[in-house]
Symmetry: C2
């Protein structure tokens, strides 16, 4: 079953980065093959779920043998496009944005923040990790010279809709926001939220009840 033929379930796609990372770690440790049962132990996913997930990307395994780690990495890497670096823009270089920029996905060679923007004149012009902080209005122009695949926003809630409107206008279609304010965007634009407060509240709540 090839990817093109059938729609791959959302959840299977969501797990792909986890599979990919884990397999890379295994390869680094010198392993060459893995069975769904072993992998399941490591990442706490049922082996049968893993096998079904893998099956969406082709007949990747061999009965009585398992999966070739190198082969899986190659296939999944292709889907995740790890060979070409995915350029990202960061909007809002406050405390959180700064931490992201300093780290800049150093463990993930295929993700890279290549431009950064802020509204505060006091920090515009500053360079962090080889990236110059620019006024947001420069983004439009930067797009003509740099391949920006997505945006990470760490601006405060009250500024988010404004910023996102501008991003949409510039043609950005993938946005990850650390502020949980729900924003209005056209159908074609994907917005994800990484809502720390909700995560913590859920953690405590589920410990209490669930």
């Amino acid at each position: 079953m090839t990817p093109q033929n059938k729609k791959i379930p959302r959840m299977s796609l969501e797990r792909l980065p986890i599979y990919y990372r884990t397999l890379c770690n295994l390869a680094d440790d010198g392993y060459q093959r893995i069975k769904s049962a072993q992998l399941g132990k490591i990442i706490q996913i049922e082996p049968t779920t893993i096998r079904r997930d893998f099956s969406y990307f082709g007949d990747l395994g061999k009965s009585g043998y398992g999966y070739d780690i190198g082969h899986l990495i190659e296939i999944f890497g292709m889907i995740l496009e790890v060979n070409e670096t995915q350029g990202l823009a960061l909007i809002g270089v406050g405390n959180l944005g700064r931490a992201l920029l300093i780290n800049n996905f150093r463990r993930n060679p295929n993700l890279e923040i290549i431009t950064a923007y802020d509204a505060d004149p006091a920090i515009i012009g500053e360079t962090i990790n080889d990236v110059i902080i620019q006024p947001l209005a420069d983004l439009q122009a930067d797009l003509s010279t740099k391949q920006i695949k997505g945006v990470i926003s760490t601006v405060p809630s009250h500024a988010l809709q404004l910023v996102v409107d501008y991003l949409v206008e510039c043609g950005i279609t993938s946005i990850l926001s650390f502020a949980p304010e729900p924003v209005n965007v056209p159908e074609s634009v994907h917005v994800r939220y990484l809502d720390l407060t909700t995560e913590v509240q859920n953690l405590l709540l589920l410990a209490e009840l669930g």
Copy 2:
């Protein structure tokens, strides 16, 4: 239907913090009532999903009228225990941990990082936002004087299992980790991951395919 009687679906609980925050914002803006349809517009959730979620917590609405915002806030606030501050410990005060500590949930009066720990002697003793950075070994003792409801870990992947083992030993049961390394813990301990890299990869992937 009262909360005690029936098990509340996981997803309904997960949405509770979002409902709560949104309702508080509406109250701040002077609104006193809301219909499931309006609320659904704001937070992009189907009205029927909202009504069913709410129904798990009692008969909160009135036909032909909607919901009283103050009443919802009171009920949900009670479930989320917003009246007593939930004390948190932060492990790992690097770039990311520092950003969290400086912000310290200032928009959420019921969450508060009350202690912080790190392994680096160079920063132990430093005070950020009235919290002193201590060696991790001090946590055990701190637990006898302070109510710590959960832990946020921003230590690197390679240190995570070690740190978590210690936390479990101390009796901590709720952990949020920014490092995606899967850890082994007893059944009774809840670990959540907030995996930035996976979030970004999924964002780009779903924009590409889904």
